[in-house]
Structures are given as structure tokens and as C-alpha cells.
């Protein structure tokens, strides 16, 4: 069965075909059902039911009913006339997200990166580190210049922005090359399954 489905998906490389279409339908259907059940038990039941009807000895936490009511409002979408109620839970999730992510980005993407970019441009007795630091600071500087939206990229300023793009291209090239290895490992694992475990051709 594993091999049948594996080959069905691989056949997509040749072209779209009924075998792949069948596998796709199976995959989508099964996974949709799978995730619904998983979420039902591990999130809905665990967060709502278990807090309101907890195991003996634990206090009931009715605060979670608010979540339940918001969830119910979501379902009101199905009734056209009062469907607009569902915007309340939408607003709640989107607003909360905006707040939490804003902080997350400010910290890990913003301040931590700025801090690690502030480097001494001269490390005595270590040419390697000196050159490395200079390239890092200049590269980050030029890259940031590229992201300015308020100014046309012309003249000297344009040249700096251009250098910024060059750094971005190096970044993309390097991460592309770096990922090739991990992706190939996965394919090697799959091929080892087909030719070793299944066909027994690899000793």
C-alpha cells in the first residue's frame, strides 16, 4: 500500500494522471478528516470541555465559556441574516494576532538582529574577523538601504541600494545551495525505502 501510494505521487513528475488524481483525492479527504478529529479532541475538547467539566477535584473554569460563545458566533455565518456576528470572533483573533506578532517581530527580527549587527570593525590580531565584521555591517547597511521606499534609487544612493540587492542575491543563492542537501537526504531516504526495504536490492 505504501509503495502504491508512493509511486502514485511520483507519477506526477511525468504528468498529471488518473493515478495521481486518485492519490490526491485520497490524501486530501483523509487528511481533512484526520485534522478535524485531531483538533476536535486536542483543542476543542481539551480547552473547552475539560475546563468546564474537569476531572474531580479541579475547580470549574467558566471563563472558557467566553471562548465557546465566540466559537458559536463563528458558526452564525451559516445564517445569512445574523452572519455579521461572526466578525466579532474574527476581530478578536486578528487583533490578538496583530498584537502578539508585533512584539515577536520587534524582538527576534528587530532588536536582536540590530544588536548582533553592531560589531567592532577592527579586531586586533584577527584579520579574518575584521574582514568578516566589515562585510557583515556593510552588507546589512546596504540591504536596509534597498528597502527604503521614500526615495528613487538613483545616483550614489542607487548604487548603494544596488549593492544591497547583490547581498540579497548572495543570501538567496547560499540558502538555496544549503537546502539542496536536506532535500536530497529526504529523497535518498525514500529511494532507500523503495529499493532497499521494498525491493530488497540494497544490501
Amino acid at each position: 500500500m505504501g509503495a502504491f501510494l508512493t509511486l502514485g505521487i511520483i507519477s506526477f513528475l511525468y504528468k498529471d494522471n488518473p493515478w495521481y488524481k486518485f492519490c490526491e483525492a485520497l490524501f486530501v479527504g483523509i487528511s481533512a478528516g484526520y485534522w478535524f478529529c485531531t483538533v476536535f479532541w486536542s483543542q476543542f475538547v481539551a480547552k473547552l470541555w475539560d475546563n468546564i467539566y474537569p476531572t474531580a477535584g479541579q475547580p470549574r473554569q467558566y471563563v472558557y465559556l467566553v471562548g465557546g460563545i465566540l466559537g458559536l458566533m463563528m458558526l452564525l455565518r451559516l445564517v445569512p441574516k445574523i452572519g455579521w456576528f461572526s466578525r466579532w470572533p474574527l476581530a478578536f483573533v486578528v487583533g490578538g494576532t496583530a498584537g502578539a506578532y508585533l512584539i515577536g517581530y520587534a524582538l527576534s527580527n528587530g532588536m536582536k538582529q540590530v544588536k548582533s549587527t553592531i560589531l567592532p570593525l577592527w579586531v586586533s590580531g584577527n584579520l579574518n574577523a575584521t574582514v568578516g565584521n566589515i562585510i557583515l555591517v556593510v552588507g546589512t547597511f546596504c540591504g536596509l538601504i534597498y528597502f527604503f521606499f521614500s526615495k528613487e534609487q538613483k545616483g550614489t544612493y542607487g548604487k548603494v541600494a544596488k549593492l544591497g540587492i547583490f547581498f540579497l542575491m548572495i543570501t538567496f543563492g547560499a540558502s538555496f545551495g544549503y537546502t539542496v542537501m536536506a532535500r536530497m537526504s529526504l529523497l535518498i531516504g525514500r529511494m532507500d525505502f523503495l529499493f532497499g526495504t521494498w525491493l530488497g536490492l540494497i544490501k
Partner: protein, 206 residues
């Protein structure tokens, strides 16, 4: 009620989670955890909408006998089968639900993931033409890092792996930092616009 309430909720929820970061008060953190729980419940409730959406879209196609309607029928039947198995039989190890997961889901998932190896090759072939300086930089760094990471790179030049490490740690990192810092500002601005209600295209206004 239709317009204002959602905006107020957005503002309050957003401001609350920003404040959460700065307030170490244990009572407040507990409250934040509970409010997070609400969000999880709301997200879980939306799965019901998701299943109904799948049904609505596929029902139409099956009923009208559109192209590939049999496949859509298989899709819906598979979904119902898993729903039944999972809700009535439970989802723990050893159940029918778990067996189907391990035997159909896992190999297909692994294979889809492995297809990437082929696509990465064809994408590289098509895109890495040295048309401009930018394209050249992209292609050359990709090739250097790619070769430097495997044993054959070491056979070609002894310090190849070290050089690859250097590329990753210096010029690669520089570009990456610029993107990260820029994205941080973009995310902060978007978040702020959403919280203050300046940006509300995503929410109907009628």
C-alpha cells in the same frame, strides 16, 4: 454594532497582547493564557465551517456530474470515513483511525516532501542562467555552497567546506539581517494599522 464593535474588539485584543509582554504580574499572565485559550477554541470551531465548505463545494460538482466528479466523491467519502472513525473510535494508537493515518497519510506526505528534490533540480537548471550580475551572484553562490557541502567538494579543494561555512556566516548573514529587520518594521506597521483600525479591508464594512 456591525462596524464599530469589531474595531473595538480588535483594538482591545491587540493592546492586551502587547501589554502582556511588558506586564510580569502573574495574575495578568494567567489571564493572558486563558484568553489565548479562547482563541484556540474559536480556531477549533472554524473547523466545522471548513468541513461544511468542503461539502458545499464538492456536492455541487458531484450533483452536476462535472469532470472528475468521482474523485470528488472519493474525497468526501474518505473524509467522512475518517470523521466517523476518529469521533466514535477515538484517535489513540491502535485504533482504525491511527492505522489509516500511518499507512496512507505518512507515505504520501513523505513522498510529496521528497518530490522537492526533483523540483529543486529543475528550478536550478531553469533559473540559474547568468543573464545579469544579480543572476550570476545568485547562481554562483548556490553552486559553491551546494558543492562545498558534500564530500566531493572536499576532494576538489581541501578548504572548500570551510569556505562554504564562511559564505553562510558572513555575506549570507548580512543579507538575511537586512531582510529580517525590514520585515520586522513591516510587521510592526501592519500590526499597528490593524489594531488602530486604519486597515480593515480584510473585514467587511457593509
Amino acid at each position: 454594532m456591525r462596524k464599530e464593535v469589531p474595531l473595538i474588539i480588535t483594538f482591545l485584543a491587540g493592546a492586551f497582547f502587547i501589554a502582556d509582554y511588558f506586564i510580569p504580574h502573574t495574575g495578568f499572565s494567567d489571564l493572558a493564557a486563558k484568553i489565548n485559550g479562547w482563541a484556540i477554541i474559536v480556531l477549533a470551531a472554524s473547523y466545522i465551517l471548513g468541513v461544511l465548505n468542503i461539502l458545499r463545494i464538492n456536492y455541487g460538482r458531484v450533483a452536476k456530474r462535472e469532470k472528475d466528479w468521482i474523485l470528488k466523491l472519493i474525497l468526501v467519502l474518505c473524509m467522512f470515513f475518517m470523521l466517523g472513525a476518529g469521533i466514535f473510535g477515538g484517535i489513540t494508537e491502535g485504533t482504525l483511525f491511527d492505522w489509516f493515518f500511518v499507512n496512507t497519510f505518512t507515505p504520501m506526505q513523505a513522498t510529496m516532501f521528497a518530490l522537492l528534490a526533483f523540483y529543486i533540480a529543475s528550478a536550478a537548471f531553469r533559473a540559474f542562467r547568468v543573464r545579469t550580475v544579480q543572476a550570476a551572484l545568485l547562481a554562483i553562490t548556490a553552486v559553491l555552497v551546494m558543492i562545498g557541502r558534500v564530500p566531493i567538494g572536499e576532494t576538489i579543494w581541501k578548504s572548500f567546506p570551510d569556505f562554504t561555512e564562511w559564505i553562510m556566516n558572513v555575506p549570507q548573514l548580512a543579507g538575511k539581517r537586512a531582510i529580517l529587520i525590514g520585515a520586522a518594521l513591516g510587521a510592526i506597521a501592519t500590526g499597528l494599522k490593524v489594531i488602530t483600525g486604519l486597515e480593515r479591508t480584510y473585514m467587511g464594512q457593509d
